[in-house]
C-alpha cells in the first residue's frame, strides 16, 4: 500500500469552516488503494489560550501537567476533523499520539520521539480508513503524555512518514512553499521547486519559519521526501529532499536574515592556552547557543573574542561573560543588539570563495560594512548593522537570484 502523510498546522484548522475545508481537500485527494494519514495541530490559538489558563492557576506550571493540558488541543482538532470527513461519507478514525504509540523520552514539553508503533495505523489503513493523528504529542514509558515542543506536529508527520515508509510527507501551511527570500521584504523573491535537506535546515534555523529544524533533521536522517505547500490552494509547493534526488542544485538557492541576534565581545583577554575553552564552556553549560565567533589578535599578547548569541539569551550571556572576564583578567565586555545576520544558502556552492566574493561585492556596492563572517558547507553569513538588513537582502538577492541563477548539474556536485 502506498502511504501519503499530510500535515495541517493550527491556522489551517483554525475554525469550524476551515476544518470543513481541510476535510474536503483530504477527501478529494484520497486515491484508491492509497493509505492516507493526516497529522493535525491544535486549532488556531488554542494552545496559547490553554497556556494562559495554566499561568492563571500556577505562575510556574509543572511540565508534566502542562503536557496533559496542551495535548487536549490536538485531541479536539482530530475528532472534529474526523467528524467533518465522516460527514462527507468517507471512512475515517482519529488517534491520539498515545493511541498510535508515539513513544518519547521522559523530557516533558520538548520530548524526543524514540519509537513509533505502526500496528494500529496499519490496521485502520487496511480497513480503508483515513487515519487522523494528533500532532505534537506522544507518550513516555511511564504512560504519561508528553509534547514535542515548538514545531512538534511537523516532527510527528515526518516520524510517521519514516515509520510507515511513506511515499511522501506533505506539509500544508499558510505559505505556499519555500522562497528564495522573504517575499514580504524582497519583491522579486520566487518559490523554489526543490531544496535539499541541508539547505532547508539552514533556512529553517535562520528565520524562514516554514518547517521546524527537528522535522527537517529527521526527514534527512530517514530520507523522507517532504513537500511544503499551501492549505488554501492546489498549487505545487516546494519539495525538500536529498541532494542526490534533486534534478540539479542551485549554487545559491536563498537569502535569509536573522534579526534576533546580538553580538558580544570580551576585550583584551590575555593570550594563554585554554582561554577560549573557558569562555565557551561556561556558555555551553548554560545551554546558550553561540553562533559566529571571531578571535582577533591585538599586540601585547591580548586578544578580543567576539561572538553572537540569540537576543533572548543576551542578558544571561552578559552575566556569565562579566564573571568570566574577571576570572581571566580581561578588560571587560561590550555588546550590541543592533545587528542582523544575512546569509546565502546553496547546496551548490562548490567554489565558495567565488560565491563569497560576489556576496561581499553586493554589500560593498550598497556601502554596508561587514562586522563578522562565518561559513559552512552550504552557507555564507555576514553580520551587519540592523538598519541595513533589508537593503542587504535585496542587494544579495538581486546579485545571485534574479540575474544570475546558476544551476550546478548533478554530476558536478558529488
Amino acid at each position: 500500500m502506498e502511504i501519503i502523510i499530510k500535515k495541517f498546522g493550527g491556522s489551517s484548522v483554525g475554525s469550524v469552516d476551515r476544518i470543513k475545508k481541510v476535510a474536503r481537500m483530504i477527501v478529494s485527494s484520497k486515491k484508491k488503494n492509497q493509505g492516507l494519514v493526516v497529522v493535525v495541530s491544535a486549532m488556531g490559538d488554542t494552545t496559547d489560550r490553554l497556556i494562559d489558563m495554566a499561568y492563571k492557576v500556577n505562575p510556574y506550571p509543572d511540565a508534566r501537567e502542562l503536557d496533559m493540558l496542551l495535548s487536549t488541543g490536538e485531541q479536539v482538532s482530530i475528532s472534529l476533523l474526523a467528524m467533518a470527513i465522516l460527514n462527507l461519507g468517507n471512512s475515517v478514525v482519529s488517534l491520539t499520539g498515545p493511541q498510535v504509540g508515539i513513544y518519547t523520552d521522559k523530557i516533558h514539553k520538548r520530548a524526543r520521539i524514540v519509537e513509533v508503533k505502526t500496528t494500529r495505523i496499519m490496521k485502520e489503513l487496511h480497513k480503508n480508513k483515513i487515519v487522523i493523528v494528533a500532532g505534537f504529542q506522544g507518550v513516555n514509558q511511564n504512560n504519561d503524555i508528553t509534547t514535542l515542543g515548538r514545531g512538534g506536529s511537523d516532527t510527528t508527520a515526518v516520524a510517521l512518514a519514516a515509520a510507515l515508509n511513506a511515499k511522501k510527507c506533505e506539509i500544508y501551511t499558510d505559505v505556499d512553499g519555500v522562497y528564495s527570500g522573504d517575499p514580504r521584504m524582497i519583491e522579486n523573491a520566487y518559490k523554489l521547486k526543490e531544496i535539499s535537506y541541508d539547505e532547508m535546515l539552514e533556512m529553517a534555523s535562520l528565520g524562514a519559519k516554514v518547517l521546524h529544524p527537528r522535522a527537517v533533521e529527521l526527514a534527512k536522517q530517514y530520507n523522507v521526501k517532504l513537500e511544503v505547500k499551501s492549505s488554501f490552494s492546489d498549487e505545487r509547493g516546494t519539495e525538500v529532499k536529498g541532494v542526490d534526488e534533486m534534478e540539479g542544485v542551485l549554487r545559491v538557492s536563498g537569502v535569509t536574515c536573522d534579526k534576533k541576534i546580538a553580538k558580544i565581545a570580551i576585550l583584551k583577554v590575555p593570550d594563554k592556552p585554554g582561554v577560549a575553552y573557558k569562555v565557551f564552556n561556561n556558555l555551553s553549560k548554560a545551554n546558550i547557543y553561540v553562533d559566529m565567533i571571531i578571535q582577533s589578535i591585538r599586540h601585547d599578547n591580548v586578544n578580543d573574542i567576539s561572538f553572537t548569541v540569540p537576543e533572548d539569551d543576551l542578558d544571561e550571556t552578559i552575566a556569565i561573560m562579566e564573571k568570566t572576564a574577571d576570572e581571566l583578567g580581561a578588560e571587560g565586555i561590550v555588546y550590541d543588539k543592533h545587528v542582523a545576520k544575512v546569509s546565502i544558502i546553496g547546496a551548490g556552492m562548490g567554489n565558495k570563495s567565488r560565491v563569497a566574493m560576489k556576496m561581499f561585492q553586493a554589500l560593498a556596492e550598497e556601502g554596508i560594512n561587514i562586522q563578522m563572517i562565518s561559513t559552512s558547507e552550504i552557507k555564507i553569513s555576514c553580520l551587519i548593522d540592523l538598519n541595513s538588513a533589508e537593503k542587504a537582502m535585496k542587494a544579495i538577492h538581486n546579485k545571485f537570484l534574479v540575474n544570475g541563477i546558476e544551476i550546478v548539474k548533478k554530476q558536478s556536485v558529488v
Copy 2:
C-alpha cells in the same frame, strides 16, 4: 492506607477561581498517611461547547469521535486542578481514565465500567501524591476512549471507591445535601443526615438531581459509603449507606415529584390472554420505560389499560400504541401530558397501608384527585393533575415530615 475519594462536578470547577478554591479545600483536608483521590468533571459548560462544535461540522456526530472530543473536557480540569494544588506546595499527579485503567464495554457515549485497575493510582498514593482522576471517561479493549454518559463522573468516583476499597466517597455538588423535599418548593424542607441506597435511588430517579442513579446502584452493589455535600461550605452533608449501617430509618424520609411524565391509555381492549404482553412487549422493544400500570375491568369482556411513560417518549409511545390498538381490535387510545407523579420515599415504611392512608388523606384534604397509584418496598406514588403538584407536595411534606417524623429503630426494620 486509608483512602478517601472526593468528586467535584462541573460547576465546582467552572472557573480558574473555583479551581483554586477546590485546590485549597483538597489541600486543607489532606491528612497524613491518608490516600486522597479526587475525581473531577469538565469545567462548567465545556461539554456543551464541545458538543456545539461537533454539530457544526457534522449534524450526526459519530459516537466514537464524540467521546474522543468530549473526554478533553475532563483532561483540561484535571491538569489545571493539579497545577493549582502544586502551587500550594503539595505533591499531586493527574491521570486520565485510560491512564488509570478504567476499562469499559465498547458502547460509546454511555459505556459501562467493567474493570478498574488500581496499580497506577496505588503507586502514586504510595509516593504520597494526591491523585486527580478525570471523571466520565474510560477506555475499551480496542484502546479507544469511551465516555460514561450523564452523571458519569459520579459513577467514576464510586467505581474508584469500590476498587480502592475507600473508606468514603464524598460527592461535592452545588447543593449541600439531600433534602426531605425540593427546598425551592417546600419552604420547611430539611436536610437529611442519612439516607439508604434504595431511598436515594428512588430520590435520584424521581427527580432529585443530586446523584446519578447508576452511581447509587454501584455504591449499593459494592457497599460504598457516600456523602453528598456542598463544594462551597464545610458543613456536613447527607450520608448515603446501607440500611443496616444507619442509626435508624425514617418511616418516610422524603417527598419527590416528577413532572416530566405522561399518561396514556388504550381503551376497550378485548380481554384475552397475552394482551398485556403484546402491549408492553412492543414498548420494551422500543426501550421505553413504562412506570405505573393500571388495568381496569369494564363489562362486555373489554379492559382499559393505562400506564405512564417519560414525557420525552410520548410521541413514540403514541405511534406504537396506535398500531397495537389496531392489531388488538381495541377502540383506540387517549393520552394526557398534564399530570405529575408525587411520591413518598422511606426505608421504614413497614406497615405500608397505614402510610398510604395518611398520604391519601393529605391529598383528599386538599381536594386533589388521585388518578393512579403505584407502590414499591420503599415508596408510594400517586399520579395527579399537574396543576396540583406543588400543593400536593406541601401537604404530604407537612403531614409526614414536619409534625410527624417517625423513626423506626434499627431492630424493627430487619
